[in-house]
């Protein structure tokens, strides 16, 4: 039961990789790390980790390139995005490309390990920031242009995301809304799916407004 998760760290700052290692290596198995896109793709394919901690800001095309090139050859590994910046465009971009969650680099070691476990289980990890970005993205779509279920959040999904944005944990949200933690996770995963699957003009426009491709 106490089996350690296999994790790969991608970040162009050696200092940060070392920091992560020292903070969480006793609780997860860090199978490798890399500081460039090519190195990262090869390393991930070779070690086949369960979770990749992926820096959003990388030279040579960034974290998104790593994610896309790995996906071509391995579709079981999960990605958890990490970033020092809180720029909405970078974060939404990497989530749309397939990352299962996003945490800021200031996150505590406990929270990071918890996020890694969730992502490995196939759940979505929404930090308050990410919840805010997603609410912003969906809120900016004019109602008239909503043409499918994917383009809109349900009232419950919105409520859950607002609570995440307000800093509540999934457990606290479950207690406040009288639902199970599993249901909270389901709502969050559903939001993530809408974000990734909906190939919507509206979201594209939201992205274009913020210089996201």
């Amino acid at each position: 039961m106490n089996e350690r998760l296999k994790v790969f760290v991608v970040d162009d700052h050696a200092m940060f990789r070392a920091g992560i290692r020292s903070e969480i290596a006793d609780r997860v198995w860090i199978a490798g790390d890399a500081g460039s896109v090519d190195e990262a793709v090869e390393g991930i394919i070779d070690t086949a980790p369960q979770v990749v901690l992926l820096d959003v800001h990388m030279p040579d095309g960034g974290g998104r390139t790593v994610l896309e090139r790995v996906r071509e050859r391995n579709d079981t590994v999960q990605f958890l995005a990490l970033s020092a910046s809180d720029a909405a465009e970078d974060v939404i971009d990497i989530i749309r490309a397939g990352a299962r969650g996003y945490v800021t680099k200031t996150v505590s070691a406990d929270e990071l390990v918890d996020a890694i476990r969730r992502v490995a289980d196939g759940d979505a990890v929404f930090s308050p920031k990410l919840a805010g970005f997603v609410l912003d993205a969906f809120a900016s779509i004019p109602v008239a242009q909503v043409d499918s279920d994917l383009a809109e959040l349900t009232a419950r999904e919105r409520e859950v995301l607002q609570h995440v944005a307000r800093g509540y944990t999934y457990r606290e949200i479950a207690e406040r809304l009288y639902i199970s933690v599993k249901t909270v996770e389901t709502h969050v995963s559903s939001v993530l799916r809408k974000l990734q699957l909906s190939n919507r003009h509206e979201l594209s426009r939201w992205a274009a407004d913020r210089n996201i491709r």
Partner: protein
């Protein structure tokens, strides 16, 4: 120089002068009827009545442009004399065809408008006497006398009463408007007083508290005091719109500033998430100030290293949640003389039409929910 004439008086005078013109036209129609259908009358006298009425009507229209002239006693007297002359001319001309009705009646109306009860009834009385003399005695037609006297007296009564009611209502309405205006001024003044008290609480008192806490560090105290002094001077001279505020133009930027300010002053990290944005106005200024106050409470009382701020701008309102997982408190147990929560947070947003809800559990942290309505075009 008298004060400007009320709109009502202008309108009433227009109605009176308008009726005078209608009366003159009516008189000329009667003249035409007499000339075309009757025989045995004196043509020059009938025409004279018409010309006299037309000339005086022109004089009335011209006089109505001169302030106050219609309301002088001599003008009313002249008006009555002209109508009396019109009745007399008709009688001398040998026709009793209702000349007393249209034009002379406009004299009763004008007199009631200009001279109130005395003016209206004196005019009606004089014209009735004239009718008795010329229609009754001279023409020998008592039926016409009764009709004309009734028309004049009843007309004077109804007009005096109606105009009086209209004038009283208008005076009441204007008095009410004046009172509302002065109440509005008073309300604005008391709101300004409250805003000033809150501004001083947020800036000066906070700085004094900070100085006490850091009294062991003279350099820090000096710098805090200097900054406060500069801010206060700017505010007093009017070159700064609010105390303790920043230069941000939008809600999201202002909240980010507030969070940054708190992080530099206290060992507390503030996670800020904003959804949507709006330009700052008086309401959102209050929202930002209340947010700042809520964060200061977290920094000072909650004993935690992190606070979360979530701000969301929707079509009709802006909402801010300030949350910590700190000590919490019993919301009912805050002494009333501590202005922090009641004035700087709750009172502040309520004064701008918003609301504040504070949820706190001892040991489990506090969440302050602030909401301000937005007036969007």
């Amino acid at each position: 120089m008298s004060t400007a004439e009320p709109d009502l008086e202008v309108a009433l005078r227009r109605v009176m002068v308008g009726y005078r013109v209608v009366g003159a036209v009516w008189l000329w129609l009667l003249v035409a009827v007499v000339v075309l259908t009757e025989t045995g009358f004196n043509l020059p006298l009938v025409m004279g009545a018409g010309v006299l009425a037309a000339a005086w009507t022109g004089a009335t229209v011209w006089s109505s442009g001169v302030p106050g002239i219609l309301r002088t006693p001599w003008w009313i007297a002249a008006d009555v004399a002209v109508s009396a002359a019109v009745i007399a001319f008709a009688a001398f001309a040998g026709t009793d065809r209702g000349f007393y009705g249209g034009y002379p009646f406009s004299t009763v109306l004008l007199a009631a408008y200009s001279g109130g009860i005395p003016g209206g009834f004196v005019a009606a009385g004089v014209l009735s006497v004239v009718s008795v003399v010329f229609l009754g005695v001279y023409l020998g037609n008592p039926g016409e006398v009764i009709t004309s006297a009734l028309v004049y007296v009843a007309g004077a009564g109804v007009s005096v009463w109606g105009i009086g009611v209209i004038r009283r209502n208008d005076a009441q309405r204007r008095a009410l408007e004046q009172r509302l205006a002065s109440e509005e001024v008073e309300r604005a003044r008391s709101q300004e007083r409250a805003d000033t008290a809150v501004a001083l609480h947020d800036s000066v008192l906070q700085t004094l508290a900070l100085i006490q806490r850091r009294s062991d560090d003279p350099a820090a105290v000096r710098s805090v005091a200097r900054q406060q002094e500069r801010e206060l001077r700017d505010w007093l001279s009017g070159s700064r719109s609010r105390l303790g505020g920043g230069t941000a133009a939008t809600l999201a930027a202002a909240i980010a500033d507030v969070a940054a300010e708190l992080e530099t002053r206290y060992p507390c990290r503030v996670e800020v998430v904003t959804v949507g944005d709006v330009a700052l106005g008086t309401g959102t200024d209050a929202l930002v100030a209340a947010t700042r106050e809520a964060l200061l409470n977290v920094a000072k009382h909650a004993a935690v290293q992190t606070a979360a701020v979530y701000a969301e701008v929707e079509d009709t309102n802006a909402t801010v949640f300030v949350r910590d997982r700190g000590a919490g408190f019993e919301p009912g147990a805050v002494p009333p003389d501590r202005r922090g929560i009641s004035e700087s947070i709750v009172g502040r947003v309520r004064r701008h039409g918003g609301d504040a809800v504070i949820r706190s559990t001892p040991g489990a942290g506090t969440e302050v929910e602030l909401r301000i309505p937005l007036a969007r075009s």
